[in-house]
Amino acid sequence: MDKQETVDSWQMATLFLAFMTGSAIVNIPAPLTAAAGNGAWLSLIIANGAGMLLLACILYLRRRYPGMTMIDYSRKVLGNGMTVLLAFPFVLTVILMFSYIVLDIGGFFASSLLIQTPSYAVHSLIILTAALTARAGIEAMARMFILLLYSMYFFIFLVLMLVQPYFHPEYLLPAFPQGMKPVIHGAYIAFGFPYAELILFAMVLPFVRKSDDNRLGKYMFSALLVNGLSLILVVICSIMVKGPLASELKFSVFQLARLITVQDVIERVESIVGISLIVGSYMKATITLFVVNLALSQLLKLQDNRILMFPLALVSLLLTLVMFDYEAEFTEKVTAVWPLITAVAFVFPILLITLVTVIKGKGGNGP
């Protein structure tokens, strides 16, 4: 693979944090509280723990196969035929994932800021921007996303601080009104979105500079931890503000921003906040598109690994336009079906490769 472009481990961790937090911070609180109620934070901790295990997996594989992407080492470990068999659903799912993120952005605008604008206008512009960014390469992405991520976090914390007068800590109790079952259900949802998706980074990790290897693990785990903490913070805040209503309203942080009033001058700032949150989704979409393009190029052994970018973007655009007729359909897909799809398409191959590697490694080291 073409290794001209490299990023350092701090940038990689930032990309990772942007990817994990990006659209999750807007979308996860509502379905999660719907499933797990007040125990949503515990679901997140469980899912985050599972995410740590997966991250450990891909970091282990990266150490065993330095400079290789998931497709590369899958070929080495499982052979070409098996790789195609496993990569086919992987690529399809990532395309699906990209379309979902774009649909989500479109849904956000359709329901809040640009109610009369047709969805194809929003979708095509977002996809065009994402495709141009992904085409610019991982270096440009890493540089750009650091600035965007910091500004996104700035706005999130600003909202959480300004919305403080509306906090009702008593809404947090009882913590587990219906026992542990809903919490497990919540963990299942949160595992599918966003934690199982971190497998995509098995494709991106080889871009880290060789000289900067040793700190990568530390940074990546810290990024995942920061991601978990910020999601938990947002979930807790939205429960504290809205109580039982938290599960009813989509786009929690955005809804929180609606409540802000400072001296009659700063009010209804949700458009500004909403836009900065959408930037998070855009970052995630870009990384996803980058991964699917890279995976497909490597699978087809293409020389020019950017040639597929725009065709893939176009396919996704069409998908976003025809996939769902109603928003409820989409929501159901994401909460109920998505964890299952990711488990099959993302988690299963990586676990298989890890298992084979471990067994082979043991065999190799034996007498």
Partner: protein
């Protein structure tokens, strides 16, 4: 290249004076400003010497050039012209060389021609296959005066002029070290412009310097009239609206850039000094930031940053707010805006387009008009863009405020080239804001940011210190840290780099 040129190339000076005379007269046919003076000397005045010079370039002194040449025979008393034989002269110059600092001996004929054109006085002697040449260039040029384009309150006031030698002198006087290197080459076949580039060894990044030298190679064939020609020839992206190199006409700014590890380029005949690479954040700093007290300088920096965003996006933000997100405007203000817009036939976008366009025309007219008529523009401009436009219901007062503020904000940026970039970017942003509101603005900003991240100046990332983010170097971006901290790094960062770092 014409066959004529090749014929002249590498021709040695003949020892026959009349051959030389014919040849040089042929080269300078129809050039009225080339003067030939023939002197006779030697016993019984049988020997001749030919003095050629370009009278429009040389010092206008009534001087016997041959005599001054012969003054070089310091070992001898220069006696009467009859007492000197050509053998003596040739021997002396052949063996001792010349002692006057601005004189030298040339052997090539085309070198002689070149020297005449560069303001030298060239002297041919008969029976000698060499020629003497004396530097005596004198072209009227401005004296060093106050900087017109970059005035400051505090700090040195001198500025560079059209004379390259003087400019280098101004820099050298401030940078008295042998590490300050200046290299020079002649560009073009006709203008023969002198192009000089300087750098501070140990401060400059050697890789960057090598890259610069590789790019400057292709400049050598072109006719260079201004430093900006070089910019366009060596820059990374020609179609980007953003300037990738900085200009200054202040020697102190140039020296600060040299200390910072930059390469500077100067061209004879123009006062502008190009500083490369120019990074985005540097366009926000002015030399005065370092002369003012740190708190004030930092506040000014922040103000410029706000001014940058106003100049870039204020009209488009106004359009987006008033057409798509009126709820963001406080109610009372919103009512006031709606009230003043009463009776205006255009949507906010068209209104803004008209007013910004008016303003651009005025700005251009203000620059190009002859100075005596200049004040007429400001009077008419104030009327057109101000009161009359409001009364004629073409624009609302708030739009006039928006456009005026945008203009003022763009003037408050220290680098004119960045202002030009912002003026270009305004219009697409306005169109995006008018069609998609805040979302359009977001797309516009993202694409701009993407472009800036991908942009490189002389191979260096343009958004450097912001992206890739180097938090420790941010002390000279949004704020100007106290010099106590600043002078250790990032200025002089290569100088202070420890080995192995």
């Amino acid at each position: 290249m014409k066959p004529d040129d090749t014929a002249e190339h590498n021709v040695l000076i003949s020892s026959n004076l009349s051959d030389n005379q014919q040849r040089i007269a042929k080269v300078f046919a129809n050039c009225i400003d080339i003067k030939y003076v023939v002197y006779r000397y030697g016993p019984e005045l049988i020997h001749t010497a030919l003095v050629v010079h370009c009278e429009t370039l040389t010092q206008d002194k009534k001087l016997n050039y041959l005599k001054s040449a012969l003054q070089d025979l310091t070992a001898h008393e220069v006696g009467a012209a009859t007492a000197i034989s050509p053998e003596e002269v040739i021997n002396f110059f052949g063996q001792h060389g010349v002692s006057t600092h601005s004189a030298d001996i040339i052997e090539q004929f085309d070198q002689a021609v070149k020297n005449v054109l560069n303001g030298y006085v060239v002297i041919f002697l008969d029976q000698w296959n060499k020629a003497l040449s004396f530097h005596s260039l004198y072209v009227e040029s401005r004296t060093v005066s106050e900087s017109v384009n970059e005035p400051v309150v505090k700090g040195p006031h001198d500025s560079t002029v059209e004379d390259l030698k003087k400019n280098i002198g101004l820099l050298r006087a401030r940078l008295k070290t042998s590490d300050f290197k200046i290299e020079m080459f002649i560009a073009g076949k006709k203008t023969n412009a002198e192009v000089a580039f300087g750098y501070l060894e140990e401060a400059v990044d050697p890789e960057m310097l090598a890259e610069f030298k590789r790019r400057i190679e292709k400049v050598k064939k072109e006719e260079i009239l201004e430093t900006s020609f070089i910019e366009e020839l060596i820059e990374d992206s020609t179609y980007s609206p953003f300037p990738q190199y900085r200009y200054t006409e202040r020697p102190d700014v140039a020296v600060a850039a040299l200390l910072d590890g930059k390469i500077i380029v100067m061209v004879s005949g123009t006062p502008s000094v190009m500083i490369c690479p120019g990074l985005f954040v540097e366009f926000f700093s002015s030399s005065e930031d370092y002369y003012q007290r740190t708190v004030f300088a930092s506040l000014v920096r922040l103000m410029r940053l706000v001014a940058f965003f106003l100049a870039l996006a204020l009209p488009s933000i106004y359009i987006a707010l008033s057409t798509f997100h009126p709820e963001l405007i406080p109610t009372v203000l919103l009512l006031a805006i709606k009230d003043t817009r009463e009776g205006i036939p255009f949507p906010a976008f068209v209104e803004a387009l008209i007013m910004v366009f008016f303003f651009e025309i005025l700005r251009e007219a203000g620059i190009r008009l002859p100075r005596p008529v200049g004040s007429a523009v400001s009077i008419v401009g104030a009327l057109v863009i101000g009161q009359a436009a409001i009364q004629a219901k073409i624009a609302s007062p708030i739009m006039v405020i928006v456009v005026a503020l945008t203009g003022i904000a763009s003037f408050s940026l220290p680098q004119y080239t960045l202002t030009v970039a912002l003026r270009t970017m305004q219009f697409p942003l306005m169109a995006l804001a008018a069609s998609l509101g805040g979302f359009g603005l977001m797309i516009g900003f993202l694409l701009t940011l993407l472009h800036l991240t991908c942009l490189r100046s002389l191979g260096q990332p343009y958004l450097s210190t912001l992206a890739p983010l180097r938090p420790k170097q941010l002390r000279d971006v949004f704020i100007r840290a106290p010099l106590k901290i600043l002078l250790r790094s990032p200025r002089n960062r290569y100088l202070h780099k420890k080995p192995g770092e």
